[in-house]
Amino acid sequence: MSVGTPKSLPTSGQKSINDISHPLSYEEGVLTPSPELPNTSSIGEKDLSLPNGTPVDTSSPASSSSLLNRLQLDDDLDGETRDLFVTVDDPKKHVSTMETYITYRVNTKTTRAEFDLPEYSVRRRYQDFDWLRNKLEETQPTHLIPPLPEKFVVKGVVDRFSEEFVETRRKALDKFLKRIADHPVLSFNDHFNVFLSAKDLSSYKKQGLALLSKMGESVKYVTGGYKLRCRPVEFAAMGEYLDTFVLKLGTIDRIAQRIIKEQAEYLVELREYGPIYLSWANAEDDELQKPLEGVAGCVSSCSTALEELTEDMSEDFLPVLREYVLYIESMKNVLKKRDQVQAEYEAKLEAAALKREERQAVPTDVEKCQDRVECFNADLKADWDRWQNNKRQDFRQLLIGMADKNIQYYEKCLASWESIIPLLQDKPDAKGESHS
């Protein structure tokens, strides 16, 4: 048994692979050491051995960063390294005199020693997720925290309790937790642990306020108008990349919405178009009746296929774009924080340089600051690489999905039109053939 594990846990990791709905979001750890910051000392214990004795891969970014590895060895990698599986399902509506809200069931399966049990199932509502995210941002300021779905729906017209809305949100929350669970640092955060396992979260919520919110502030207001001496090129490039990428995403989002709108209008016309063939069929004698009815049937089944396509696109395609827009926001925030930490360091260094002229020793807090900048840079770079990788997988999957949906749509229409050709040709023998 591994060190520090009170009891042995069954190896549930392998078993639950099938439960994971998003195979491309698997993230294998490129573990960076937790920065030595005041508020992070309580988490991220360095004992990364698994109960079953397999050490977590802490030092091989090369093995995981290659796309080929990732694609071919997905299953193997999971079996070896994934030890925390989280899913969000079963939304429930709660109506009380005060408020109406939705809770989601959060299921956890794990072999990690940090958890007392191998399995948890708790109910959480949106504000709990929000609490978790805030806590993560506070306690892990150097890391990229995945985004939550927007609190308020765009334009406010959408019914917050409608099935579609709840389902879209459930998917986004599921994604949020999975991204955290797959993160080599965030997944060890105490608040995450509490969020997954505590029966009642309210006590933790109250307690947290006082203890754990120093770091965020200390970073936030350090340098107002201070201009960075020299932002390292790679971080400048990240910022530029995000600026362009968010623009392109916005364009893609608008195009996708426009297509959905055009398709919806196309559908309206098709729904009127098909039945006209039917009413024509009623005016004709037998010879034309069947062919006209056939065409009406085809138009109708194409309409249904189109409706499915449009639904799929608005349910599966748009939310991913939105998530990434939010993700970019998170990333930009982290970049900003990094700049602030660096600015703080530079300011202190400058002050120290002045003092040095007075022949004094370099104060230790300057060194501390330098450490902080370096840790921040390392964390950020690791998160950036991970994010880039995730992004590529996600968009690859998203766009392939879009192509697949369209192919399926055309295949359904094709099958429908091909099936009426014998009917249209109206050869009695052909009819017989089509029946056999």
């Binding site: 006209i276 010879e287 690859r396 055309y410 229409c413």
Partner: protein, 454 residues
Amino acid sequence: MRRRLSQVQQTHDTTIYVSEPRMADSGSEEAAVIENPEVAPEEVQQDIGGTGDGSSLLKKMEISVSEAEKRTGKNTMNMQETYTVYLIETRSVEALNEGQSPAPDTLWRRYSEFELLRNYLLVTYSYIVVPPLPEKRAEFVWHKLSADNMDPDFVERRRIGLENFLLRISAHSVLSKDNIFYLFLTQENGWKDVVYDTGFQAKADSRLKALNATFRVKNPEKRFTELKHYSDELQSVISHLLRVRARVADRLYGVYKVHGNYGRVFSEWSAIEKEMGDGLQSAGHHMDAYAASVDDILEEEEHYADQLKEYLFYSEALRTVCRKHELLQYELEVTALDLVSKKQQREELATGTVRTFSLKGMTSKLFGQETPEQREAKLKVLEEQITEGEEFVKSKTLECEEYVQNSWIDIERFKEQKNQDLKEALISYAVMQISMCKKGIQVWTNAKECFSKM
């Protein structure tokens, strides 16, 4: 019926090929040939007529409208106008069968001359469902399609439509033998005068008269009432269909073209990506291709719309036949009624009783009886009128019966032609849809391949 139908079929098939007359070079018919355009029209007509019932002009003559040309000239008001003329080519089939390929006889006609020909046929063969002309102005267009009469695409579609019109007439067992039609194809100058000389305009029943008849016919024939009802239905359903089809085309166009924007944004996006760049870039090209493919799809679909339009206009032709029948029926009823009242008058005069209240009865009561001589004279006139009226009713009845008989033959022919044509149109529509789906699958499969490489 079957045979005639197959000819119509043949006509329809040739529509596609005939526009390239040099291509057609087959068959082994040895029918009499119109080879000498100088021959007096009457002889020619006899010549054609002599070959027997099922034959049509098409067997002897290859007809096509091969070209359209824009011209500018002065109209009757001496005003400058721009119009389109269409080149009609005719060639002897026999010469072709003998392996020669003689230069076709050609002449130019304007759309208005086609209209004149049709009006003439309509009046002269009122019992025939005369093939309609293609639309004068583009109707039921979706927004990308030009409604301009001079638009090259419109002119081209009209060229095909006019050719189809000529081929339909030349495949018709009766219309194809008409001399004016023959001259239309072969005599460029002075044709209009010949048409007007037939005096067909005088025979034309005014619309008002026909409309009047519609409301007054007492004993309409069931078959024609149903037919009229059908043609109304056909017209309304096809025009509805065409209207919605244009909107469907509009929307389809929108869906495809918006996808073209992906092409641009993927390409811009690819500039900031490393591993994903190539895949995005080439997927963008496929999106461009997808957006562009809708142009061909909708252009092809316009042909289907034209086929429907022909039957939209056919429904009007069908109604014209019904109206003519109503007019005849009405005239018959009026003469019959007149005869009845004459007979009644005669009876009154003969017996001296007034059965119904009439002004005449009043005056005779007020101003005293007529002399017997006067009565005799009146009776005599009445007798003559009655005999005349009986003759008239007889001839009208005959005319009516004959009309019903002849028109019904043509209506039956038309129905078969219609069923056949529309079925084919639906098949070609389905085939179009199938090819559209296949194109869609192809493009998205290509795009998917690019995405997979990302």
